[in-house]
């Protein structure tokens, strides 16, 4: 696109963001403050993810953008177009073809591989935020590894509800040190974070934080020995491809309580249907 630099951001800004990313990779799970810029899209629409993608994307990359697991949701379309316009890189819907995947709220079902980078859009980066609203305090708690408050919260859920009543953005411990928010992915996706061969980068634009999970890093969902972490399961299979292993969206098909369950990962679902043919 004429008049703008490759991937929109100027090189100085990219360098500043890359420095923050390098620091984030060096300290897995630690939230690095960075000089987040105003982007030509609204905060909340993925400005953090877009800045991280813009800072790491190169002309040879193949980009995939998903929102809710799907390539064709409006904001995924809009972000993919933004990078297609500002970089001219190839885009894809196939997880296995992509070198760079920007995502909101899901991790693809197709296993990630070495060399891939996944960029997560993060609304609130601080895992302790609902427990302690002040940033100065939560930074101190991270520094002192003071996570008792989080365990107490999980314990209270168990005493009240018999289980941890958190279904997405479920807190994890990275590399045995920092407690981290995995962004609002369903807890179903949490196990995919653990020792992932891909580099996982998290960008929070409005909150001006970047954090990372380097490849093959341990990521444990917080739990108790007698209340181990579990993920969602469905009685139904995908109504389109028959998958029993993927995360299912529930679609209301009539006003009489009719439901259809389908894969949230549209690429995974299409591949399976192609394979069955």
């Amino acid at each position: 696109m004429s008049g703008y630099n490759f991937a929109y951001l100027d090189e100085q800004t990219k360098r500043m963001i890359r420095r923050a990313i390098l620091k984030a990779v060096a300290i897995p799970g630690y939230q690095v403050p960075f000089g987040s810029r105003e982007m030509p899209l609204s905060y909340g629409w993925g400005t953090g993810g877009v800045q991280v993608t813009a800072a790491v994307i190169g002309p040879d990359d193949v980009l995939k953008v998903i929102d809710q697991g799907a390539d064709d949701t409006t904001n995924a379309v809009s972000i993919r177009r933004f990078f297609a316009r500002t970089t001219g890189v190839a885009t894809t819907r196939r997880t296995d073809e992509a070198t760079l995947i920007q995502t909101r709220h899901r991790i693809p079902e197709t296993p990630l591989r070495e060399g891939q980078i996944v960029v997560f859009q993060v609304p609130i980066p601080e895992p302790l935020r609902w427990l302690e609203p002040h940033e100065a305090e939560t930074r101190k708690m991270h520094a002192l590894e003071e996570y008792g408050i989080m365990h107490v919260r999980l314990y209270e859920d168990i005493t009240l509800h018999g289980r941890v009543a958190t279904s997405y953005d479920y807190p994890v411990r990275v590399n045995g040190r920092y407690v981290m928010r995995p962004s609002p992915i369903p807890k179903f996706d949490n196990p995919k974070l653990d020792r992932s061969p891909a580099l996982l980068l998290f960008g929070a634009g409005r909150e001006k934080r970047i954090y990372a999970v380097p490849p093959y890093t341990s990521v444990r969902s917080l739990d108790f020995e007698d209340h181990p972490f579990t993920i969602e399961a469905w009685e139904q299979a995908c109504g389109l491809c028959g998958s029993r292993e993927s995360f299912l969206d529930e679609v209301i098909v009539d006003d009489k309580g009719g439901r259809l369950f389908v894969c949230s990962d549209t690429d995974h679902c299409e591949r399976r249907r192609e394979g069955a043919r």
Binding site: E38, P184, R206, W234, G239
Partner: protein, 363 residues
């Protein structure tokens, strides 16, 4: 059968077309020009420049036109453009004592050197709709040329400096001229924030949010007994000192509004009883904004003055993290984006919790 909710490029493109059509309105009505917006909706332009952190009347007018008059959207447009501009350097501090004054009032002295100048104010208008304005008889609304106060030849001293001579108000130490100036648009906020960072944040902060906070301090939530020491509006020169020259050059004249609040302070163990200050400065003409900015600035100085923070307006993180309407508007509105994956997870959880309690679906 299930039809995928395909947003698709086409739907987005058509939405953009619909938006352009709605923006233009009835083509039989003349298109509004940027000059008209700049001249006749000047206060909207000023607000967009102030909260957009960019002094450019024409671009602000363009943003207002493009945003269909939604000022928060216009502010976002201007900010997104601003962020692509290179930064040449830092100007010298503005000398508002040398302002070419259009309005200057003080609520704490009946008269003072330089006098009180009402200028173009709504203050004593009767808020009666002027139907002449609406039916094209503007000349009747403004019957003759206004008489202006004679422009002061000498710089008009600031009221607080008069108090300063008596030691009645805290001295404001000029910051170290060599120290780098913080830039909120380049660095993330950290706490405790410097006063420079805080004032930058408040200057670009949402007028409505700050208005409510400032108002809350007047109603007892962090009361600090304010007096409007002085409000002045006018043009000031912006001066830069290029390193290769070593002396200052005026690069622009900009219009600003400044407010100095004077607040009671009973003193502490380390400071004698004296008045304290709250400060506000914004682009253009924005008196309400500059007054609440000064109220909130003073409320946030509680820690340095040994006051126990008890109210929202005194909570630095609460105020500075929530003042920005570009951030707030984006995050609130992002709830429109699809959240059906997280909602599905919640459905699974709530159904499980209900099943465990033995509650089934409604019969």
């Amino acid at each position: 059968m299930y039809v995928a909710v395909k947003g698709g490029e086409r739907a987005i493109e058509e939405a953009h077309r619909l938006l352009a059509e709605a923006r233009r309105g009835d083509p039989a009505v003349a298109e509004i020009t940027l000059d008209q917006i700049e001249q006749q909706l000047a206060l909207a332009v000023d607000r967009v420049m102030t909260e957009g952190s960019l002094y450019d009347r024409e671009l602000a007018a363009l943003a207002i036109k493009q945003a269909r008059g939604d000022l928060l959207e216009a502010i976002l447009l201007l900010r997104a453009y601003r962020t692509t501009l290179p930064r040449f350097g830092v100007s010298e501090p503005l000398d508002t004592a040398a302002m070419v004054i259009r309005r200057r009032v003080s609520a704490i002295f009946k008269d003072l050197p330089g006098g009180q100048i009402l200028g173009p104010t709504f203050d004593y208008t009767h808020r009666l709709l002027d139907f002449d304005l609406g039916n094209g008889h503007e000349e009747r609304a403004a019957s003759r040329e206004p008489e202006r106060a004679e422009a002061a030849i000498e710089p008009m001293p600031r009221v607080v400096n008069l108090l300063d001579r008596e030691g009645l108000i805290e001295t404001e130490e000029p910051p170290d001229a060599e120290a780098p100036v913080d830039d909120l648009t380049r660095e993330p906020l950290r706490f405790p924030a410097s006063r420079g960072m805080r004032l930058q944040n408040l200057a670009r902060g949402d007028e409505g949010f700050l208005l409510a906070l400032g108002y809350s301090t007047q109603r007892g939530y962090g009361r600090n007994h304010p007096f409007a020491g002085e409000i002045r509006l006018g043009a000031v020169e912006v001066e830069v000192v290029p390193a290769e020259l070593g002396f200052g050059i005026a690069v622009a004249a900009i219009e600003v509004t400044e407010c100095q609040m004077v607040n009671q302070f009973k003193g502490s163990a380390s400071a004698p009883p004296q008045f304290t200050r709250g400060y506000g400065l914004v682009f253009g003409e924005a008196e309400r904004k500059v007054m609440v900015m000064a109220l909130v600035d003073r409320a946030l100085r509680g820690r340095e003055l040994g006051e126990e923070p008890q109210s929202p307006a005194q909570d630095e993180e609460f105020v500075l993290y929530h003042s920005d309407n570009v951030e707030a508007s984006g995050f609130v509105q992002h709830l429109k984006l699809p959240h059906y994956v997280d909602f599905q997870s919640e459905l699974v959880l709530v159904r499980n919790l209900r099943a465990e309690r033995g509650v089934g679906p409604r019969p």
